[in-house]
Structure formats: structure tokens, C-alpha cells
């Protein structure tokens, strides 16, 4: 059996007396689209920063294709293909869309690769050609999010971590971005981990959901299974009513 694309083992994180994460473990199969959800303050962002390398865990390990990368610096994770976006879009503001993507391309393209061609192909794939010579301030939020995804997948990307990429978008824009992400996953085999605090948008794209609550994993399974998990319902609504009605998880009732 091949190693999971990403695995976290017994991750713990304390900030002084505050326990942000307690013994969090799960793995992401190669080629999977996985959602990581949880109410505000559940520890999603902390976990995300630990996986991408901006925070060191107090305990536990992060494995990337079976290899321990817990203490690998951020830039080396990116060059190895572990890529991310940011909750609040962080582009290089004085650089054009094309240059933004080129930065990452030139860092992570395998030796001998034509980075000019790679930049153009990323622009084309995300349909950003017309925005290529504009500055981030001159394009819409949806396009800025796309540029960030482009910057993340450019060059060499095997696992894409998306931090609330859909927040702040209109319904149509979110739909479009979801289809782009699904297409990336299908066409390039990129493993995707999506962090959201709202489940509704995720149900359409993910094959599996991990739910974080109070610093630990409370559910791990298909969206349908997770939606019926009493602990999840409790965590999200504090009542026994189903957290995810038929509108947001179409297959929840059919299952």
C-alpha cells in the first residue's frame, strides 16, 4: 500500500496554558479531496499552520508521503510540493499576477523545466490570461483567490492546502472556484485538503470530512456519515437537530 499523501500523528499544540490541539491524528490518501471543518476556535488554523510549517507543534509528527517533515522549514515543504493558500489572501502587491505565479514557479520547478511555459500554462489553466499583467489591487477578490491557488500549484505541487478559499465569495464565484479545484484534482492528481468552517460549500467537493472540535478530532468519515454523527451535531448546534439538512448535504438523507 502506498503511503498517505499527508498524515498527522498525535499532533498537540499548547500556547502557554491554552491547549489548541490535543492528540490530533488523521491521514489523507493520495489523490483525495478532504475537508477539515470545525467551529470557530476548534484549532483548524493552528493545525493548518503546523502542517504548512509556520508553527512547530508541541508534540506529534507531520508525515508527507511517509516522510517526517515536522521540522522542515516552510520553503522546503513548498519546494517538495506541499503548497498552501492563506485565509486572508496574501499576494505580492507590487507584482503583477504573472510575477506572483512566477515566484513560486521558479522556486519549485524541477531542474530543466521551462518556467516561462509553466507560468503561462498555470495562467491558462485558471483562465487568468487577461489579468496576467495586472496588479492584485486591480482584480476582483475571486481572481485574487485564483491567483493564490495558481501560485500554490505552480511548478511542483502534490498536496494543496486551501485555507477558507471560498469565504467572501458570492455563490457563483464559489461554485466556479470549486469546479476549478475539482478539475485540478482530477486532471493533475493533486491531493487537496480544504479547511472551512461552513460545511455547506464543502459537501459538493470533498470525499471525506474530518471534524475538529475543542482541539481534537471528533469525527472522520464521508460527508454523509459525519452529518449524522451526534457529536458533530452537538458541536455545531448544541442541540440534537441535524446540523446539515438536506439542502446542504444532498446525500445525507439518501444514505
Amino acid at each position: 500500500m502506498t503511503a498517505p499523501a499527508l498524515e498527522v500523528r498525535g499532533i498537540a499544540k499548547r500556547f502557554g496554558g491554552l491547549v489548541a490541539l490535543r492528540d490530533v491524528s488523521f491521514s489523507v490518501r493520495q489523490g483525495e479531496v478532504m475537508g477539515l471543518i470545525g467551529p470557530n476556535g476548534a484549532g483548524k488554523s493552528t493545525l493548518f499552520e503546523i502542517v504548512s510549517g509556520n508553527l512547530a507543534p508541541s508534540g506529534g509528527q507531520v508525515l508527507y508521503f511517509g516522510e517526517d517533515c515536522t521540522s522542515l522549514p516552510v520553503h522546503r515543504r513548498r519546494r517538495a510540493g506541499l503548497c498552501r493558500t492563506f485565509q486572508k489572501v496574501r499576494l505580492f502587491d507590487s507584482m503583477t499576477v504573472r510575477e506572483n505565479i512566477a515566484v513560486a514557479t521558479r522556486q519549485s520547478l524541477p531542474p530543466g523545466g521551462d518556467w516561462h511555459a509553466e507560468v503561462e500554462s498555470v495562467l491558462e489553466r485558471l483562465r487568468l490570461g487577461r489579468q496576467a499583467d495586472r496588479l492584485p489591487a486591480q482584480i476582483t477578490l475571486a481572481d485574487r483567490k485564483k491567483v493564490e491557488i495558481g501560485r500554490a500549484i505552480a511548478g511542483h505541487c502534490r498536496v494543496l492546502l486551501l485555507d477558507e478559499s471560498l469565504s467572501g465569495l458570492t455563490h457563483d464565484e464559489a461554485e466556479e472556484l470549486i469546479s476549478e479545484i475539482v478539475a485540478l484534482n482530477r486532471a493533475s492528481g493533486i491531493t487537496v485538503v480544504v479547511v472551512e468552517h461552513v460545511l455547506s460549500v464543502l459537501a459538493k467537493m470533498v470525499q471525506r470530512l474530518v471534524v475538529l472540535h475543542n482541539a481534537t478530532v471528533i469525527a472522520d468519515g464521508t460527508p454523509a456519515d459525519v452529518a449524522h454523527d451526534p457529536q458533530v451535531i452537538q458541536a455545531y448546534l448544541g442541540t440534537q437537530r441535524s446540523a446539515f439538512d438536506a439542502r446542504v448535504v444532498p446525500d445525507a438523507r439518501q444514505a
Partner: protein, 329 residues
């Protein structure tokens, strides 16, 4: 699919980076200055001062303009360039041909030590450290009187016009030397801006966290930029020393000098290749004409007032400098 490398667009030739012929006009004008009959030594001296001022600004622009690292103590590298060159020449008879590279080497080592300690943390610590090192150098230069001449500074032993000692009674040779420096630094700046390293520096300037997440080695990029800038400053310092023939702690490590070093790039346009040239030229013309005008009324030091005023205007109305104003039109 693109049909091949020949048709692939060049992403990093921004529209304005095309070569134009007009910059050759001022270049030729300055080069011809010493040959013109009505040009006196005063005009030549001002030209040399301007060229040195510009070259120092170009060096600072690398780290502060392209890299976004606010070095408030670049006088350290100017001073090291001057003092090392001067001490080697006076005490050991080493010509500046070797003294200046030695000064550059010392500057790079000091930059490595300063950067190694402060560039891992963000922003203000680096700026403070550069100020602290300036103050320390100032004290050292004043303390070791035998070596540096103390408060009075260091004057080169003058051998008359000599290529070996890089000395000349007339300012004309320095016009050409200064011009060569400015042109070389201009091309170095353009080269960096167009390179992968320049792209990394700009990414780090805009957002360090996002740069790291894009695979950029942030610390190494900042350190390398700082060292390149230090070497260029010390090199221009060598020219400074040979032209002025003297250096003292205040001119090397003083606050006034530190601010002077930043003016050309700040006024001309941070992070651009042409900015320090335009800024330095404008400031020289302004300060010379106001000083000349004011001295007829018995006023001294009006140039400092002009510097302050222009800087204020730039900060308020043209944060992108002269280049930014030209581009906006």
C-alpha cells in the same frame, strides 16, 4: 499549447524596461563636461559629488528599495570602505587598487555578521541594529586615534596626480570614474530586478510569509541582498575617499550621512533602476543652487532645509518618487 520557446512571451520585461536612447544624452553630456571650454573646476567638482551621491544611493536602493530592508546605518559600509582604503594606503603603502577591494571584503563580513544576527526577526530590529552598529563604529573610529586619526579623521597622503594612488589634482578623472560607477550600478540594479534573485527580493519585501510559502529562502535572500548592497556601498566609498582624500567619523558614521545615503532612492523612486540617478541629480542641483543663492544673503546650510522640504513633499505627494510620477502620467 505555445508553439515553442521562440514565441513564449518574456514575462519579466515590464513595458517600461525596454531600452531607450534618451538616457545616453545626459551620459554623453557628463562625459563631455571636462572637455568643454566654459566648464570650470567648480562644475566638475559638483558633478563628481553628484555622481558619488548617486552611486551611494544606488547601493542603498538594492537593500532598501528592492529588498524593503530599512538600513539606517549604511554609513558603516561607506566608512569601512574609506577607512580601510585610507589606513592601508597611509600606513602600509597599499594602493587603493587593493585597498578598495579589501574595504569591500570587510564591509561584506560586517554585513554578514549584522544580517546573520538581525535578519531572522522582522523589521524594526534590523533597522535598530544598523543604527547601533553605526554608533559603535563612530566610537571605534574616535577611540583608535593612531589608526583612524580620531575625531579629526584620516587624510590620505597626497602624492600628486598618480594613477597608482588613484589621485589627481584635477577633478576631471573622477568625473569619468564616477560616471563608470553610476552606469555600472545602474546595470547591476537592472540585472537584479530582472533576475530570479530580484523576484525573490521583491516577494520578500511584499510579504515574507507568502514568500516562504512560495518556496523562497527568505533569510538567505535578505542576507544576500544586504551583503551585495554593503559591497557596493564600500566600493562607492573607495571613490569617495579618493576624491575627497579624507574621512572623519561624522562624515562616515554620522546621522547626517545616513540620511544623505537614503535621499536619492527615496526621492527618485525606491526599488527602481533609474530612481537614485534622477533623485541624486535633482537633489544636487537643488542644493547647489539654493546654497549659491543663499550665500549671497550670508545664509549657510540652506541645502539641509531643502533636503528636508523635498523629502516631505515626496512622502506626502509622491511616495513612489520621481519615477512613480513619470509612470503615472
Amino acid at each position: 499549447m505555445p508553439t515553442g520557446a521562440a514565441t513564449a512571451p518574456r514575462p519579466f520585461a515590464p513595458p517600461r524596461a525596454r531600452l531607450r536612447a534618451w538616457p545616453l544624452v545626459p551620459l554623453l553630456l557628463v562625459a563631455l563636461l571636462p572637455a568643454l571650454p566654459w566648464v570650470n573646476n567648480y562644475i566638475l567638482a559638483v558633478t563628481v559629488r553628484a555622481l558619488i551621491f548617486i552611486a551611494l544611493g544606488q547601493a542603498w536602493n538594492i537593500v532598501a528599495g528592492i529588498g524593503g530592508l530599512l538600513s539606517l546605518g549604511h554609513g558603516v559600509f561607506l566608512g569601512l570602505g574609506c577607512y580601510v582604503t585610507g589606513i592601508l594606503f597611509n600606513d602600509l603603502g597599499v594602493p587603493p587598487w587593493l585597498g578598495v577591494p579589501a574595504g569591500m571584503l570587510v564591509a561584506v563580513v560586517v554585513a554578514l555578521a549584522m544580517g546573520g544576527m538581525t535578519l531572522r526577526v522582522r523589521g524594526v530590529f534590523f533597522a535598530l541594529a544598523t543604527v547601533a552598529v553605526s554608533l559603535a563604529c563612530d566610537q571605534l573610529a574616535r577611540h583608535y586615534v593612531d589608526l583612524t586619526g580620531g575625531d579629526n579623521g584620516l587624510a590620505l597622503t597626497f602624492l600628486g596626480t598618480s594613477l597608482w594612488a588613484m589621485q589627481s589634482r584635477s577633478p576631471a578623472p573622477f568625473v569619468y570614474a564616477g560616471l563608470a560607477f553610476v552606469v555600472a550600478f545602474y546595470w547591476i540594479t537592472r540585472g537584479i530586478l530582472a533576475s530570479r534573485f530580484g523576484l525573490e527580493m521583491r516577494a520578500v519585501r511584499d510579504d515574507e510569509v507568502a514568500a516562504a510559502a512560495s518556496g523562497v529562502r527568505v533569510f538567505r535572500t535578505k542576507l544576500l541582498g544586504f551583503m551585495i548592497s554593503a559591497a557596493m556601498t564600500a566600493l562607492a566609498g573607495g571613490l569617495y575617499m579618493q576624491y575627497y582624500q579624507a574621512i572623519d567619523p561624522e562624515s562616515a558614521f554620522g546621522l547626517g550621512q545616513a540620511i544623505q545615503l537614503q535621499l536619492p532612492a527615496l526621492i527618485g523612486g525606491l526599488g527602481t533602476a533609474a530612481g537614485p540617478i534622477l533623485g541624486g541629480a535633482l537633489m544636487t542641483v537643488l542644493s547647489e543652487t539654493t546654497n549659491w543663492g543663499a550665500s549671497s544673503f550670508g545664509l549657510v546650510g540652506v541645502d539641509i532645509l531643502v533636503y528636508g522640504l523635498v523629502l516631505l513633499l515626496v512622502v506626502l505627494w509622491a511616495p513612489a518618487g520621481i519615477v512613480g510620477m513619470l509612470r503615472r502620467r
